[in-house]
Symmetry: C2
Subunit: 367 residues, 2 copies
């Protein structure tokens, strides 16, 4: 038996956050459920897809009984968000869950064998550090779009975390481009791990929904936990080795271009109208103070644009997949950006002009 | 040859409206195109899927040449909406279209054999009448959701127009429910026709995008045109006979219930949480001053709600598909609505309490 009252608004929020851990439909219905469990005066709601787990604590008043129950997450989410009053009464007994609020009454079946709900391993004794929520959110935003959804190399289907020399560095790459963001932090120890893209999406949801100013990250070799107040997301790391990304960072630039990111984004958008109907290629022609962007489609025609630039070094003609340039520009907030070229076959480095700690690498394509 | 300048904002709007007539990809690429044609000092843009056609007139200044050209609608839409400046120069010559705006240059292939573009038949001499844009929009909104997307009876895949005794009546039904809206108008003549649902969607787009206060409707037996200022939508009517809907309008009610539409909609939303996971059925139990709504799912459980009502006549227990009730309620603006029952096997009539000219009929389902 378990009986408690709870505020609809808080329950709704915590159910929504916990539900995000649930994966696509599986054969085992217990994995489509939320586990409700009283623990030390609060109600704990848990969900897991065996890779990512969320634990959300909900404030409840006095409660009677100590049973746990597991109920279909979609169903309980749908019910709670539609309840008429803020005060909600839950009564669980012998597999039956009654929910009352105002004149609404629900009598629900729960999933039997609640003890089969996977236990969430979560060790507090690992290496621990804190980071501003907004900084971690920005770092994820700057790199996670480069992770691959498809690569056969599992290490590339995620974001690499590296703590080294007092810096936290996040890196993601799909083999054609790479993004890197770093931040100085007080981290006691050195370590690295890979988070799968699905886990990254979970953490991003946690970051955007929390009002906590700091996230506490704890790493204990096979799992990492991200704690923000009432919510803890526990993630298994990917058991792979990340490629040696430092080898692809270009050096010895021969052409440096400074440009306005809005000018470039606008011109690129227009040449992409043709490029996406053609060979998915845009040509950048760099001369003294002009960059000409052009694209062609044998079926539809061609587009030509030009924007003002400041150039140091050699003239250059080089081709890129415009989608990769566009995504890079969208993830840099600064107006002044730098394009650093070696030649028309080597990776281009894009970075904000006067901001440290973020860069983007993209391979050219052949003409 | 044809050469003109045009304002981006107006061109963008007219391209968007004309493009909506274009159907899904077909073997003939000319049907994916917009036809641009100078006619008496304006630029006419035309599109058709052979069933529905749109003619949009665009203001241009002085123009040179008198050629027409046809160009892929998606492409030109994509280009125009991204142009940098409001002033745009078009130059068409020998199958090649150049577009310039600011520093942007596009050189496009056009579709050859422009004379193959289907001519849009459109006779001004039929029966003609005008109706307030907002009234026609409301009438469509009230009935078109009841038209069937699937019925094997083609007559039900659209909206029936009937002009009779100075009234315009719109009716739509999928065989399980029916909606009817009528309006007194100065119409000289009697007629009826069926508009296919896709044509109705076109007219709805015209109504929501125009700023003209009145729509002129002209019917000439095989086509109907809807004119709103610069835009004319020409539609072929469906060559079918609409069923005799007057036979299903219930008479001799035994139970009349007056209720608040918000109360009902809220309670229904909650019982639907269970109904949609169960037998898609909601039971209404009507006693003196209470309507109890309930639903069941063998897998998930049950939900019960009650709302206050004012009842005239006999008690009743009757089952409905809740989706049909919900859609009806959403299309009535009034707070006070009437449910008029004959018995638990006969159609229910729903109407706003104090407003004439709109009613909704739905068949019950068996318990």
């Amino acid at each position: 038996m378990l009986k408690f009252t709870v505020q609809k608004s808080e329950l709704e929020e915590k159910i929504s956050i916990a539900s995000s851990a649930i994966g696509p439909r599986t054969v085992d219905p217990i994995l489509q459920c939320l586990l409700f469990k009283p623990v030390g005066g609060v109600l704990r709601i848990q969900a897991t897809d065996l890779q990512t787990s969320v634990i959300a604590n909900v404030k409840i008043g006095e409660y009677e009984g100590n049973d746990s129950f597991a109920v279909d997450a979609d169903l309980i989410d749908d019910i709670v968000k539609n309840l008429p009053e803020d005060e909600v009464l839950f009564e669980y007994s012998n597999g039956k869950l009654n929910i009352r609020s105002g004149k609404s009454k629900f009598s629900l079946a729960t999933v039997s064998e609640v003890e089969r709900f996977p236990s969430i391993e979560y060790d507090d004794s690992g290496i621990s550090f804190s980071i501003d929520t907004s900084i971690l959110e920005e770092m994820f935003d700057r790199v996670s779009f480069c992770a691959s959804n498809e690569s056969a190399m599992k290490a590339l289907n995620g974001v690499y975390f590296e703590a080294h020399g007092g810096f936290l560095r996040l890196v993601a790459s799909d083999g054609y481009r790479l993004a890197l963001a770093e931040q100085k932090l007080a981290i006691d120890g050195e370590f690295d791990f890979i988070l799968a893209l699905k886990s990254v999406r979970e953490i991003e949801k946690l970051l955007s929904s929390t009002t906590e100013p700091e996230i506490k990250i704890t790493f204990d070799h096979s799992t990492v936990s991200f704690n923000a107040g009432d919510i803890t997301t526990v993630v298994r790391v990917v058991e792979e080795t990340f490629p040696d990304y430092k080898r692809v960072l270009p050096k010895a630039f021969k052409t440096r271009v400074i440009l306005n990111s809005d000018d470039f984004a606008e011109a690129l958008k227009r040449v992409m109208v043709i490029a996406k109907r053609g060979n998915e290629k845009v040509q950048l022609k760099i001369t003294d103070d002009v960059m000409e962007l052009s694209s062609q489609s044998s079926e539809y025609g061609e587009a030509v644009e030009s924007i003002p630039i400041t150039k140091d070094g050699e003239d250059l003609v080089v081709n890129f997949n415009p989608k990769f340039l566009n995504e890079a520009i969208k993830h840099i907030d600064e107006k002044e950006i730098e394009f650093n070229f070696v030649d028309n076959l080597s990776p281009l480095q894009i970075n904000p002009r006067n901001v440290e700690g973020y860069l983007y690498i993209v391979l050219p394509v052949r003409a």
